[in-house]
Amino acid sequence: MANGFVDRERGGWTSMIDKTVRSMAEAMAGIADGSTILLGGFGAVGQPNALLDGLIEQGATDLTVVANNAGTGHVGLARLMELGRVRRIICSYPRSVGSVVFEEMFRAGKLELELVPQGTLAERMRAAGAGIPAFFTPTAYGTKLAAGKETREINGRHCVLEHALPGDVALVEAWEADRWGNLTYRLSGRNFNPVMAMAAKLTIVQTQHIVELGALDPQCVVTPGIFVNRVLHVPYGDPPL
């Protein structure tokens, strides 16, 4: 977390917190086979596409991927699945326009699916980040997505017990980042990114902009750097229209 460097003004060695990394290889270092990967973004907005390509390159396999969707076309998450690197996907909306790879592999039994209501998915990760091992929610009570789950009536509402969903790694797209890892997001690019950033042991960020420490308004930081481990500057540009 702290990189040593020579402070020329002081004329000696000192160091400082600097979470920025210089290369994709450095960003991806150490992601192990069997990891649970939390993948930010909603639709095409706020998706860490460069990091996904980096993960494809990096080689980790037997992955569990947590994302709202299950990939489209043959790029990014769909490509990772197509390469046989994903064992299990946890998402709320797997089948969407262009989710051909997912549908084929799922039908062929080459992919496990855990379908989770979108809000429960978000809350389970928030719980992981917040040290709440389990919580009760009315969502999904009485439906097949609650099958086999513990239930309880609390204040007249039927609830389902849901467990925290922590990640080994979170891949996040930010708008601005500083060397402490403080992050902001762009409009609806925020979505799952801050929740996943807090829920993983290793949070890796691709950011459109790197700013000086102190340049972000302390009252407008969305993800404090305490949740972030590595920041890679990727001026990726706008999502496709």
């Binding site: 009570y141 925020r190 799952f192």
Partner: protein
């Protein structure tokens, strides 16, 4: 009030998608915070006049959506839960997904409008999977919305394309939520869901109650 005198259903003209959306929109008062599902529900926003301040919410953390952007003026960073480009009204704001669903689950939305396959007379809603064997259905935020909003209105065709009723005694499709819906807008009628079951509030002109009942599996009631 339903008109039980005119009995010829062939004269009644079912509402189109836009007209169904407009009918829903007419019942949304100023000041409500509303989430609109994918499909016909999304069209509802287009039928709420801009000067009537209704705060539209989208699951992906957008609160205060405005009219659809003009072609060529889309902001690539601003989409709704249906992945369509949207605008933000003055007063709008952004949250992350957990906070967005805190708004939903915490009962802060005055209304959610969803499409559905079936609605039962006890308010059960089925809108996410067409059979128990649907192997990879997509649920999205429907279960959170149905369980969490203060009111759930369903908008859908009164019957399937092959004429099978969608207003049923008990849902045959996998449920989204139990006892959640309080009103249904169809292309033929508006119905409240009450402890008695479906109560007809409104019908299209030229349709008889008998004709509506013939297209409905559950028993229809008149307002007390």
């Amino acid at each position: 009030m339903p008109d039980t005198q005119k009995a010829d259903p062939t004269e009644a003209k079912p509402l189109g998608r836009g007209a169904m959306a407009a009918r829903v929109a007419a019942d949304i008062p100023e000041g409500w915070c509303v989430n609109l599902g994918i499909g016909i529900p999304t069209l509802v926003a287009d039928h709420v006049p801009v000067e009537r301040e209704v705060i539209f919410h989208s699951e992906n953390g957008v609160l205060g959506m405005g009219p659809a952007p003009a072609k060529g003026h889309e902001n690539p960073w601003l989409i709704n839960a249906g992945k369509q480009h949207v605008t933000l009204r003055p007063g709008g704001s952004f949250t992350h997904h957990a906070d967005s669903f805190a708004i939903i689950r915490g009962g802060h939305l005055d209304l959610c409008v969803l499409g559905a396959f079936e609605v039962a007379e006890n308010g059960d809603v089925a809108n996410w999977a067409t059979s128990e064997n649907d192997t990879a259905p997509a649920v999205g935020g429907a279960m959170d919305l149905a369980a969490g909003a203060k009111r759930l209105w369903v908008v859908m065709e009164h019957t399937t394309k092959d004429g099978r009723p969608r207003l049923v005694q008990r849902c045959s499709y996998p449920l989204t939520a139990l006892g959640a819906a309080s009103r249904v807008y169809t292309n033929l009628a508006v119905l409240d869901i009450t402890p008695r079951g479906f109560v007809v509030r409104d019908m299209i002109p030229g349709l008889s109650l008998e004709a509506l009942q013939a297209r409905t599996e559950a028993r229809l009631h008149l307002p007390a």
